[in-house]
């Protein structure tokens, strides 16, 4: 493990600069990555799919999809890949870092934009820069998919109402013949600005006890 460690430290420094995690956190996440991938170099969708913990999550597919989405890698690429390495894994996770006491207001703004962009990418599946009504409907349907019986009609109604709300907030005076294409990123920011994403969209990273977690696959 000795040689591996020094090489890893170089890598860690690189990763720490890019993603903002600390060494401790990167080490813990690396352990988790190893677990998920079965000690391979990359994770595929099947690795994440087989997790029993995610089985009850209604938006499972979107979450897994977000890991393989190239837009979340901040490299201006689009599309999706089939396997991701540790660096990509970390990049996606870095969207969930919380702000700390020393974050300035501009940094908080940037953080919020980044997190909102992550959410936006999750909704905008065809990457045309807008969330159309169909896509939004799909989002609401997925949200309610685990809730069972209520189903399609109400999901549609809710999505329609939400879309209407976005349109009325952002473009209040539309004539009867105009058409609201879809939610652009600016509109998305506008409607969610009350939620203060930078303080809400985060998880705790440091005390990861990965020894108790099992992915559901047999450990080789």
């Amino acid at each position: 493990m000795g040689a591996w460690q020094t090489r890893a430290e170089h890598q860690y420094q690189d990763l720490a600069d890019k993603t903002g995690f600390s060494f401790e956190q990167i080490k813990n996440l690396y352990q988790r990555f190893q677990q998920l991938s079965g000690n391979e170099e990359t994770i595929s969708r099947e690795n994440l799919d087989c997790m029993p913990a995610l089985a009850n999550n209604p938006i499972r597919k979107q979450i897994i999809g977000a890991f393989f989405d190239k837009r979340n890698q901040h490299q201006d690429e689009v599309g999706s890949c089939d396997q991701i390495g540790f660096e990509q894994f970390l990049m996606v996770m870095s969207h969930f870092r919380p702000p700390n006491l020393r974050t300035t207001d501009e940094e908080k703004e940037a953080m919020r934009k980044e997190k909102l962009r992550f959410l936006f990418n999750m909704h905008d599946s065809d990457n045309d820069g807008t969330i159309t009504l169909a896509e939004y409907r799909k989002v609401v349907e997925e949200l309610m998919s685990k809730s069972g019986e209520i189903g399609q009609e109400t999901a549609k109604a809710i999505a329609d109402a939400a879309m209407l709300e976005v349109a009325s907030i952002n473009v209040p005076n539309m004539g009867p013949e105009e058409f609201y294409e879809g939610i652009t990123f600016e509109h998305f920011e506008e409607i969610l600005k009350g939620l203060e994403m930078e303080s809400r969209m985060h998880i705790r990273f440091l005390d990861v006890d990965t020894s108790t977690m099992r992915c559901g696959k047999s450990q080789s």
């Binding site: 996440l29 988790r32 677990q35 998920l36 994440l48 995610l54 999550n57 209604p58 938006i59 979450i63 996770m93 969930f96 919380p98 702000p99 006491l101 959410l119 999750m122 989002v139 609401v140 949200l143 309610m144 809730s147 019986e149 209520i150 189903g151 399609q152 009609e153 109400t154 549609k156 109604a157 809710i158 329609d160 109402a161 939400a162 879309m163 209407l164 709300e165 976005v166 349109a167 009325s168 473009v171 209040p172 005076n173 539309m174 004539g175 009867p176 058409f179 609201y180 409607i191 969610l192 009350g194 939620l195 809400r200 985060h202 998880i203 705790r204 990273f205 990861v208 006890d209 977690m213």
Partner: protein, 751 residues
């Protein structure tokens, strides 16, 4: 003219209140005197001598039948009590009429001032003023306030900050007690202050009384300054949860000061007692809360008494906890918190409103009375002023609070993700107000020579915190630019994304392999849905996801708002011209297969549609949830539009009846439930939960909702899927711009 009126109000109000005060003090003076003994004391009421006269008179000769007689004694007690409450409320009214005072001085200060005045008047007359009786306080005045606070506690914020709140409540209070107690003891040891007789246990007892942050005072002050939710919940949560600590320490030290010695065993027992008191209180509250929720499941036919169940179960929870010397406050909070989601799902809208308003009303009255009595008791009570003791108490309270908050925040910030800034710490420290609980506990002390001194010191601390800190906290909040409470307009987008975010973060936590906050919240939600809701919520509301409840609530609110604002006069502030048509292009997108319906069904539908169409012609302008373009200032234009809409509607109506439309969008789908015989009702006038409250007369169009709360478990899915479409069709006809073009269909039998 407008300027004269407040002045006149002020003058008339003032004189009336003064007269009322006088009368009240006289009356209550006589009550106090009378209640202690028989009615032989020479009270100023002056009617007591009359009774023997009457008797002696009647024995000598027959007198005329008394047309009008004066018998004050029978009704004296309730009369005086009502008079007190009336006075309190009139004072409260007065403060809000007088324009500028309520901005500067918080209400609690004014009420204490009034209490002082009344107490002064009573004393001047020479009567004995009523004191804030401990039983009265703890059994009648405190529970409504706590129940109100607990029932409307923002659970989300409370749970998220639970760790911080617990640390402040438990560790903070312990620190305060020992610091104040110890330092006061040290002060007492100083030569020359005549305090040598005070031993350590008494000082600790005193410390335990005076160091607890008081929920009543905190509520009274913080309600007015409207700071952001985090700070509010931190200070308020602390004031609620430190009750357990206070109760335990108080009883502990009292026992010890009687026993005289403390052993290690006693210390250990004290710690065990703390856990028993707090957890036991929560358990008792939880049991009563579940009982209340279960009871509310069956109240469909007796809506009128629903609010009473809420109040009585909660009060029983409080009293039961007090029986076992558990923490009554925590029991009450637990009961309210647990009962609320299920009760709200079960009760009718009117009952919900009743519960809300009665709780607010009672807590308001209680709070007012508490502060007034505090003022009166201050004037009345025996005082023993000792400069050193009092001044050092006040200073030590402040110092220990500040030190405690700063020290604890350093520790807490290591574990919090959203750290507490210096501004937050300042507000938390400054908001540690003492109040009537400290006073009542002080009153419970056994009489010894130091009790009066303690009481004086407690009162001084209370006055200092309420007056000085209460009055200055508002300008300080402005000065420091602390974040205020944000205006929360319910937004369906925010709700969707809050839920989305919850699931997302839970998923990410699972991928990270981390059992975090979201994981447990998710588990709790699933447990709730799987087990509790089935038992505690009536009908199929139990399976309704939260998003849908929210959505229905919002729709209902909008409907009610429009009903209340009348048809054309004032409309909601959103003057947006966006409607459904702008969102969906005509003729685009999915075409869904429409399941076929039978001929008889179709006839029924046509009949209903026609009749409804006639009804809605008059109501067309009043409401359209998706047609937000009604501009109240352009009446003539909208008149033209109205006619156009009608024409359009008729055209489409006939079009519909011959060619079925394509089901593209459903602007509003109400919760539609049908009995198995597929009866379609237009108005459901019975009280059922979550009905849109709009009545037919000026009702919004959406009120044509086919709602009947079906209790039968055997709801087949198909009819429900079908009939919402019919419902949509109706809605589509009425919401003029929400129609889609008729398109090709699969229903060949509909023509």
């Amino acid at each position: 003219m407008a300027e004269l009126r407040p002045a006149r109000c002020w003058r008339t109000g003032f004189f009336f209140c003064l007269w009322l005060l006088l009368f009240l003090s006289v009356a209550s003076g006589s009550l106090v005197v009378v209640s202690g003994s028989n009615e032989t004391s020479g009270g100023p009421a002056g009617d007591t001598p009359e009774d023997p006269h009457h008797q002696t008179n009647s024995t000598t000769h027959k007198k005329a039948f008394p047309v009008l007689s004066f018998n004050y004694q029978d009704v004296r007690k309730p009369f005086v009590i009502s008079l007190w409450i009336l006075l309190a409320l009139l004072m409260k009214l007065g403060f809000h009429i007088i324009p500028n005072i309520s901005n500067v001085v918080p209400e609690s200060c004014l009420l204490i001032g009034v209490g002082l005045l009344v107490g002064g008047i009573i004393k001047a007359i020479g009567e004995e003023a009523p004191v804030l009786d401990t039983k009265l306080f703890f059994h009648y005045l405190l529970p409504p306030i706590i129940l109100d606070a607990g029932y409307f506690l923002p659970i989300q914020a409370f749970m998220e900050n639970m760790g911080t709140i617990l640390v402040f409540a438990v560790v903070g209070t312990l620190w305060n007690v020992f610091f104040i107690g110890g330092m006061i003891f040290a002060v007492c040891q100083i030569e020359g202050v005549q305090l040598a007789g005070v031993d350590l246990l008494s000082c600790l007892l005193f410390g335990s009384i005076v160091s607890a942050v008081d929920p009543v005072a905190v509520l009274a002050v913080f309600e007015e300054i409207q700071i952001n939710e985090l700070l509010h919940i931190l200070v308020f949560g602390e004031s609620l949860l430190n009750d357990a600590v206070t109760v335990v320490l108080y009883h502990l030290f009292e026992e010890f000061s009687h026993a005289g010695t403390v052993t290690v065993l006693d210390g250990v027992l004290g710690i065990v007692c703390f856990f028993v008191v707090s957890l036991g209180g929560v358990l008792v509250g939880a049991i009563y809360g579940l009982l209340g929720a279960f009871t509310s499941r069956f109240t469909t036919h007796t809506r009128v008494i629903e609010p009473l169940f809420v109040f009585l179960y909660s009060y029983m929870a409080y009293l039961s906890a007090e029986v076992f010397h558990l923490s009554g406050i925590m029991s009450l909070i637990a009961c309210g918190v647990i009962m609320r989601p299920y009760v709200e799902a079960n009760v009718s809208h009117k009952s919900y409103t009743t519960i809300k308003y009665f709780l607010k009303m009672w807590s308001s009255v209680s709070e007012t009375l508490i502060f007034i009595f505090l003022g009166v008791s201050t004037v009345a009570g025996p005082h023993a002023w000792n400069w050193t003791f009092v001044i050092s108490t006040v200073i030590l309270c402040l110092v220990s609070r500040v030190l405690g908050v700063i020290g604890l925040t350093c520790i807490i910030n290591k574990f919090r993700i959203v750290k507490l800034t210096k501004k937050d710490q300042f507000i938390v420290a400054y908001g540690g107000l003492r109040g009537a609980i400290a006073f009542s506990l002080g009153f419970l002390l056994t009489d010894n020579e130091r009790k009066n001194m303690f009481l004086t010191a407690i009162i001084t601390v209370i006055f200092f915190t309420v007056f000085v800190q209460g009055m200055t906290i508002r300008p300080l909040v402005e000065l420091l630019a602390v974040k205020k409470k944000k205006e929360s307009k319910p937004s369906i987008n925010e709700e969707i994304h809050t839920q989305f975010l919850g699931h997302l973060l839970t998923g990410i936590e699972d991928i990270c392999g981390h059992y975090g906050h979201h994981h447990w919240k998710d588990k709790l939600n699933r447990f709730n849905k799987a087990y509790l809701k089935k038992w505690l919520i009536a009908g199929e509301r139990s399976t309704e996801p939260q998003l849908i409840s929210f959505y229905n609530k919002m729709e209902m609110k909008q409907a009610m708002m429009l009903v209340e604002s009348g048809s054309a006069a004032k409309l909601p502030s959103v003057l947006s011209s966006v409607s459904m048509q702008n969102i969906q292009q005509r003729g685009s997108g999915n075409r869904r297969a429409i399941p076929s319906i039978s001929k008889s069904r179709e006839q029924e539908i046509r009949k209903i549609l026609r009749s409804n169409l006639q009804k809605t012609r008059q109501r067309l302008r009043s409401y359209s949830r998706h047609d937000l373009m009604i501009d109240p200032f352009e009446d003539n234009v909208s008149e033209v539009r109205f006619r156009k809409q009608r024409v359009e509607m008729e055209r489409r109506m006939s079009h519909y009846l011959t060619v079925p439309t394509n089901r593209q969008e459903s602007p509003s789908v109400r919760k539609v439930c049908f009995e198995p015989e597929h009866q379609v009702f237009t108005y459901d006038n019975s009280e059922s939960p979550r009905d849109p409250r709009a009545r037919p007369d000026p009702g919004p169009l959406d009120a044509i909702s086919l709602v009947s709360e079906s209790q039968g478990p055997n709801q087949s899915r198909e009819p429900r899927a079908k009939v919402p479409k019919e419902q949509e069709e109706q809605d589509q006809l009425k919401l003029s711009r929400c129609l889609s073009d008729p398109g090709p269909n699969q229903e060949e039998d509909l023509s």
